[in-house]
């Protein structure tokens, strides 16, 4: 029997697994760029076959990164409710004006058509690919690497006065604290459960009951988050962090063959996904 309190169990985005794989060794700049290119490809691709190819490739990446596929797939679990809600909305609300769109069912402004069914399936596939890709990125890249990579990639934007460093720092902190807050939440849930708290016992329509049940968690969690924020500020200041001043880094990245190959492969995949006219 697994414990009901292991919240971090299924959160694969934001964890980092130390491995010695090709994916882990890629230059973070190139890894991020490839990631962004692949995301664009997945977002544009709207055929069944293209998305299935994308799904297969993103699962294959787990293998390349020596991360168990089952662990990567378990990262889908927390996203299932969102996928269902978005899927239902698209199923009933999506409308397309095209001659070959068949309408199966209609009630007022709600309608189910062949186009809406297609978009539901495609968006579920897309969602899975995006979760897999983001999991692989964060599982194979430490947060400092992500920040440095991002900062370096965005550095041209400094010319137009874009606060590149602050931006990448914000992203890093946000990603870094997902597992931390999940753990804090776990601690709170345990402590409140041992005082007799119950979570999620109200039926789904008892919104007020369900919300008040969460108060014993939300309020302490806010407190902890603020306290952690303050600690973070102190820790950064203690190391002489000055916002806005220019910083040097001691890790210099130098791309090698593998990095260029990864980038080229990503571009190739996007071409395969987007420009080949698949029959379905």
């Amino acid at each position: 029997m697994s414990s009901p309190f292991e919240l971090t169990r299924n959160i694969t985005i934001g964890q980092y697994l130390v491995r010695n794989s090709i994916i882990h060794k890629l230059d973070p700049r190139f890894k991020l760029a490839s990631f962004a290119i692949l995301l664009v490809g997945i977002a544009i691709c709207d055929s069944y076959i293209g998305n299935l190819i994308g799904l297969f490739l993103s699962i294959y990446l787990f293998h390349l990164a020596s991360i168990p596929v089952s662990y990567g797939v378990s990262g889908l679990k927390p996203a299932i409710p969102f996928m269902i809600i978005i899927g239902l909305m698209q199923l009933f609300l999506y409308k397309e004006m095209s001659p070959d769109n068949v309408i199966y069912w209609q009630l007022g402004f709600l309608e189910v058509s062949s186009a809406s069914i297609k978009i539901v399936i495609i968006s579920v596939l897309r969602f899975m690919q995006i979760i897999f890709l983001s999991s692989i990125l964060t599982l194979s890249t430490s947060t400092t690497e992500i920040t440095r990579g991002l900062e370096r990639l965005l550095s041209p934007l400094q010319k137009v006065k874009f606060p590149v460093h602050a931006f990448s720092l914000i992203i890093t902190i946000a990603i870094r604290f997902v597992p931390t807050f999940a753990m804090e939440m776990e601690k709170m849930m345990k402590a409140q459960a041992s005082r007799g708290a119950e979570f999620g016992t109200g039926a789904w329509w008892q919104i007020i009951k369900r919300t008040t049940e969460m108060f014993p968690l939300i309020i302490p969690l806010f407190n902890v988050a603020l306290a952690r924020g303050e600690d973070l500020i102190l820790a950064m200041e203690a190391r002489c962090y000055t916002p806005g001043s220019s910083r040097t880094v001691y890790t210099q990245y130098k791309a090698n063959g593998n990095d260029y190959v990864a980038l080229l492969v990503s571009v190739g995949i996007v071409f395969v996904l987007v420009f080949i006219p698949y029959p379905w």
Partner: protein
Amino acid sequence: MNQPILSVKDLTYVYMKSTPLEHQALLGVNMEITEGEIVAIIGHTGCGKSTLIQHFNGIHFPQTGHVMINGMDLTKPKLDVKSLRRQVGLVFQNPEDQLFEKLVGDDIAYGPFKMKLPLEEVRERVKWAMEMVGLPFDEMKDRATFALSGGQKRKVALAGVLALRPKILVLDEPTAGLDPKSRRELLEKIKKLNQEEGITVIFVSHNMEEVAYLADRIYVMAGGKEVCHGTPEEIFTNPEIILQHRIGTPETVRTLHRLHEEGYAVNTGRFRVEDASTEIRKLLPE
């Protein structure tokens, strides 16, 4: 010999089982605790103490092995977890982080309210719990929780668990991070709870002075197992165990041992502060 109120048999536990982050925390723990005892669990960080005591409260369930608490078998799937949590009160590390109500009284009343007790009884229990931990009911019940000092917050958190009227009280490092005065006060309260209310107390601690002061028996844990147990006299006077598991000893033990080594006739087993001072005073010329 009484029937043990809590017994643990060959308990193992793996965190994040079947993920790449899996981590074995317990490797077969055995333990028996009799009603009315105060038992200390000591051992180095990461030896599985916290994981073990979370089993006592139905936060974790045995993956293999058995835990029996007051006649309830935790391996049974149809276990009444609510009733278990009423019998075993668990106070986590830094429990003051978990207060969420605006007023002290409301926070302590949270547990009894969840038990659906009548208002009168909730009030009664809150009053009793507050007085048990040394917070005057009339004066403190309407104070804001967030304006309290660290020591007071911890007392509030302890009272919140006591208000459930548990038979067994489990504490995870109850005095960590408290100033010496609050520390002493809290220890006295715990002792009083045991002596006056007959509550069985199990606590985890790194502070050997505290262990010497409170515990009737000690369990030493290392590497996910319990490696030995005995009375404080047995543990603290056994240099082998102390060295092997790098357990600290109370200052009184160190003093007595030192005197013993120097050739003075002292009884090294008498480490409670009063006893030790009598031993030392015996050596002094009139």
